[in-house]
Symmetry: C2
Subunit: 442 residues, 2 copies
Amino acid sequence: MANKTIKQPVVNGIRDKVLTMDTMNQSVKNIEYAVRGPILLRALELEKELQQGAKKPFTEIIRANIGDAHAMGQRPITFMRQVLALCQYPDLLSSPSFPEDAKKRARRILQACEGHSAGSYSASAGIRTIREDVARYIEQRDGGIASDPENIFLSTGASSAIMAVLSLLVSGKGKNRTGVMIPIPQYPLYSATLAEYDAVQINYYLDEEHQWALDVAELRRALEQARAHCQPRVLCVINPGNPTGQVQSRENIEAVIRFAYEEHLFLLADEVYQDNVYAEGSQFHSFKKVLMEMGPPYAQQLELASFHSCSKGYMGECGFRGGYTEVVNMDPAVKQQMLKLLSVRLCPPVPGQILMDIVTNPPQPGEPSYQQFQEELGQPADMFFCIQLLEETGICVVPGSGFGQKDGTYHFRMTILPPLEKLKILLEKLSQFYAKFTREYS
Amino acid sequence: MANKTIKQPVVNGIRDKVLTMDTMNQSVKNIEYAVRGPILLRALELEKELQQGAKKPFTEIIRANIGDAHAMGQRPITFMRQVLALCQYPDLLSSPSFPEDAKKRARRILQACEGHSAGSYSASAGIRTIREDVARYIEQRDGGIASDPENIFLSTGASSAIMAVLSLLVSGKGKNRTGVMIPIPQYPLYSATLAEYDAVQINYYLDEEHQWALDVAELRRALEQARAHCQPRVLCVINPGNPTGQVQSRENIEAVIRFAYEEHLFLLADEVYQDNVYAEGSQFHSFKKVLMEMGPPYAQQLELASFHSCSKGYMGECGFRGGYTEVVNMDPAVKQQMLKLLSVRLCPPVPGQILMDIVTNPPQPGEPSYQQFQEELGQPADMFFCIQLLEETGICVVPGSGFGQKDGTYHFRMTILPPLEKLKILLEKLSQFYAKFTREYS
């Protein structure tokens, strides 16, 4: 009986597996995700070998493959962690060692949680109070332009929101399959997701000769070429750029919006690096603000989803997976479909939602935590030293702030395990860098 | 110029949107998700109306639509919340008001986090130390049968792991499209995910006449019928059942395993309710344990993925989105593909991972938190009262433990806002129930 129903050939008593590289979802097989791809897998192997005592020309793996500030020694913002601790262990609300504004914030958030517990599911779009805070934050950021909490969807990092919106947009077969324009270079979430969804990736190239600028003529070239084999319906823009760091000018954003409108494209604006603008003269303009200020027909018609997260910027809280999208001019019926799609995943993690609340509603002047919060936004000197050292010499050490140090003193920690010869070279490089650094910054 | 490139008809200056119910991803449109569907959306509207002062025959919405223990007043386990608070705000590690074992646990977890911060990304499969704890937990649960941390993938609730494994399994077109057998009734994550992935749903019916038992003859009927229009490759089992609560006997599990093996199906065992077994004589047997004890050819060949989460059972920490899957006999190359798929989503939320660590590695006898941890697993009397009241009369009140009360005293809190006539009926019902309850349980 068993033999009769076995549908697979049996060799030496072993059948083929049900799930193999041949039978699996080929769209998943087509995904490439360099940020965590073969290099990282090898790095994990090396780490294990090191732990088991293997000798290598280095003593630890430094994960510079992904923007993970805390892993590199950036310290969390005290107020954020206090509110998290209070929300998750409310017994602390009676502790005198927490500032009143952190307690007030925690009470307000717990009040908005079902059963007053961060352990309950939230609404699938996120806790209402937090969506309201996000909307107010956007309004302030954008000079008073209205933001509706009903258009805010909290998410599991920005990634899950980007995937959800893309998922709605992918349809059609063959030449009618949705084409999605993405910058090259891009953050590989985009190419990976398009592969997973079997959508058509349309590359437009950023201009390295001009600080990785986004050129509308290049958008047009890419679009016209793609029309032959797909239905272009989406334009993704990453501003500030990842991995390029370029910041779009207001004029450039306007040109992109006009292009998207004319070509009837849904615009995705990945703005998770909005707090990371360093170059002199550069300024972050949100697509939402520019769009609204352009007036008709753009402001009322262009469909836009923009994204933010708590993983980057001064907070760098990647592990909590907090983020949101704001949708503009989305068809209300489609918005209900999006809510349904999110509801299958139940809800974004509540601790990440709590962090998004603090990102969008930080301590205000006059509140007990205001000063410390502001002070913590600066980069500690030891952190700056270590990053410069890594950038210029490849030597990776850990800032003293990661271990604790007396206020006003700065340290770094390095291991001295490399073989003597290598250690000698390392110390020479370090000594040269230290001389240069102190010349430059003291 | 603009007019020339506009591809859409313009009526009164308004064009069709890019993303509409007609142009959107039809697979997403096909999703039905009753647990959070139209009823919940209406409930959210009603809640808003109530907040705005509307008069209704009730004064609050009671969300019994989803298994959300904390929303219904279940209190979190102290040790879990202590470890969370310590990990997220490590300044507390020097506080005398936390027990030593909670601190030790937090230090151990932080040690395993990049940069010693819960705010850094973890490995995409989860923090290694926690995967090791999960593997040890499974070994203990299954009477010593080995579990390999390399086969453990932490996840964003069990849902994301279930979706990931299903995503790998869906392939083929037309009659070759993957068919997935699911129980009816089922937890609608399954039907929703199959709709989203455009896989073929194969219903097998649980037998209500026999306490919702799973009958292998019915599996066979469903399978044979489905072969005409798809390629059945997956069998999903929910044990203990959701929403039915039935617990499979060991013999029944063996029969299911033999069936899956004979029919060359990949087995998915949703075991998130493994701690919720109430009926006398019932006992939870994991599919992994039974499979391994059955020996060859099953133990070495049947491909199995089983799932657990921190959202149910005594912990009920839904909001943290913690979970894991253990895969057995999965093709190593496919396992790499799974890791790649998860890596696109970066990592599961770290607080949820921390909870999974405590679920799988709770305080042990002799440790300071052991006694309290054990005591908290019982259901408080007021919680029990309120649940019985709701079940028998439809009256929903809140247990006093949700507000705090003196040890050994029990309260409930109810609002008295309904119109006088309704309040009279409510109080009569309550009084009758109270008399009956005290007769029965005192």
